[in-house]
């Protein structure tokens, strides 16, 4: 379970450009939930993810994972419990290393990176199987460098690498935003499949309202650092894109966007 308790975040405190984004922000994500987060630019979606992952420090309040305060943990220490897929397809993989090498790196997460041989050839078949679930034919391209793949292929591998080892949370940061509509659709379906198969708790930030409505078990809309809409269960199942869009437009007009 992930909890944000009375979290506040002030950018540039004391300066003229001081910006208070969160003021006693609260959010609880239960185990097994797949939360879609929507909201206009600057509403604090990505800041929220960064606070959860520890990429940026909080100004106040606490982040709890399974009831334990993780405020003091470094970003890299928190990632031992989480996987993250970024908006930029290049962010989740090593472009100058082959698919096999990338998979081996991800497969070793949580263990020691010592002087033993980098690739465990005994696991090659397993990697092949995992890659074949993507349905992109990557299982035959194990020796191709990641940099030579298209954005969609890279994002698919990023998703696979982020979820290869057991994690508590999957963080998806607009992970389909940089892809063309068809590829985005494929990646979104894959994401849903992976989350269901591995029974992950996931938080997905997206600008695509249709994805937010179609996928996930809970929908959150954020505006100016506050949760203004929170639908889960049956309410979420019955949500329509048009209704969400109406609310979205209303807050956008208020902001003057």
């Amino acid at each position: 379970m992930l909890e944000l308790k009375n979290v506040s975040k002030i950018y540039n405190p004391g300066a003229v450009t001081e910006l208070c984004l969160f003021d006693s922000f609260n959010l609880t994500v239960k185990d097994g939930e797949f939360v879609s987060v929507v909201g206009s630019n600057g509403s604090g979606k990505t800041s929220m993810l960064n606070i959860i992952c520890g990429s940026i420090p909080v100004s106040g309040g606490e982040v709890l994972i399974d009831g334990k305060n993780v405020n003091g943990l470094h970003e890299y220490q928190r990632y031992r419990m989480m996987g993250r897929v970024y908006q930029n397809p290049a962010a989740g993989t090593c472009p100058n290393m082959t698919i096999l090498e990338n998979m081996s790196l991800a497969d070793n997460k949580g263990k020691r990176y010592g002087l033993s041989f980098g690739v465990n050839y005994g696991r090659k078949q397993y990697y092949r199987e995992q890659l074949s679930t993507l349905g992109l034919g990557l299982e035959d391209k194990l020796d191709v460098k990641l940099g030579a793949l298209s954005g969609g292929q890279r994002q698919a591998v990023s998703l696979l690498m982020a979820t290869l080892t057991p994690i508590d949370f999957l963080i998806l940061d607009e992970h389909t935003a940089a892809l063309d509509p068809r590829t985005a659709e494929i990646i979104m379906e894959l994401t849903d499949k992976v989350i269901k198969e591995k029974r992950l708790t996931a938080i997905m930030v997206t600008h695509n309202l249709r994805y937010a409505v179609e996928y996930g078990t809970r929908l959150i809309m954020m505006d100016k650092g506050k949760v203004i809409l929170d639908k889960s269960g049956e309410e979420k199942q019955n949500a329509k894109v048009d209704d969400i869009l109406d609310i979205f437009n209303r807050i956008s007009i208020e902001c003057g966007n």
């Binding site: 470094h74 970003e75 890299y76 220490q77 990632y79 031992r80 996987g83 993250r84 970024y86 290049a90 962010a91 989740g92 993989t93 090593c94 472009p95 100058n96 290393m97 090498e101 081996s104 790196l105 991800a106 070793n108 997460k109 949580g110 020691r112 990176y113 010592g114 002087l115 033993s116 041989f117 980098g118 690739v119 992109l136 940099g147 030579a148 793949l149 298209s150 954005g151 969609g152 292929q153 698919a156 982020a162 892809l179 590829t183 494929i186």
Partner: protein, 316 residues
Amino acid sequence: MLFFATTIDGLQMGLCFAVLALGVYISYSILDFPDLSVDGTFPLGGVVCTILMLKLGMPALLAILISFFAGLAAGAVTGVLHVKFNISKLLSGIIVMTALLSVTLALTKLLTRTGLTTTIFSFRSENLSGIFSGKAAGLLGAANRDYMILIIELVFVIAVKIIIDLFLKTKLGYMLRATGDNEMLVVSLGKDSGTYKILGIALANGFVSMSGALYANLFSQYDNSCGSGKVVMALASVIIGMAVFSKIRFMSDTLAVIFGAVVYSLCLNYLVLVDTNGIYLKLLNAVMFAIILIFNDKTSSFVSRRSKLKGGNAKC
């Protein structure tokens, strides 16, 4: 005959600098860290090796291997300055390089003389207690000394190359490559990328020091000024290697870097033939480096354009 002697000299120095270039390959190519502390760690290795040999009477090979650790420590300081104190890459290198100027000077003061009577190539002097027995050295004859130096250097360089190649294939080596390639991924894997940076810079400078020790052995003399210009030399070697030789099929990056170092060193030596007074040497050196960089930029943009064309067909 002068041309031939120059070539042999160039090859000898080139192989010696190949170890330097392999070290800089780790910091510059793998970690994307242009490390300026090289100018300081190169003579540091030389002076440490000389002290070990002259003061403690250590065999040359052992002294060269131990001088690795001197560079390792100095490189770790560069890494810590950059990672833990957020000093920029270039400045942390400059700080360590400057500090090492005094350190090497102080270490030199420990010595009453800097000339080495026995070296790793010691059949070169009258003393034949090097790694070859007197008989073998005698059989090879004095005329073949230069070739023997080349062979010993070659063995040494290949050993270093194989060790680096193997290291880069380990899990730790993969993490080092990932750190230079995409630091975020290392963090995502739950590891502190800073640790790997420090380790990488330390290892790189270890090899640089070893090259400095080998250099002192090659000339049977430690020279305090031997460090100046080594950054440029090493970077040029690595860039030539990566731009020209690594494009050849089945050529590993490390082998390409070795070729780069040898070719660059040969070019330098031929420049000496042209400019006998040595006045324009540094200028020619700089011009040559600039030409290499311009050429390198052309090729890389050509390659990226080509790969973009290829990538256009990739389907997802």
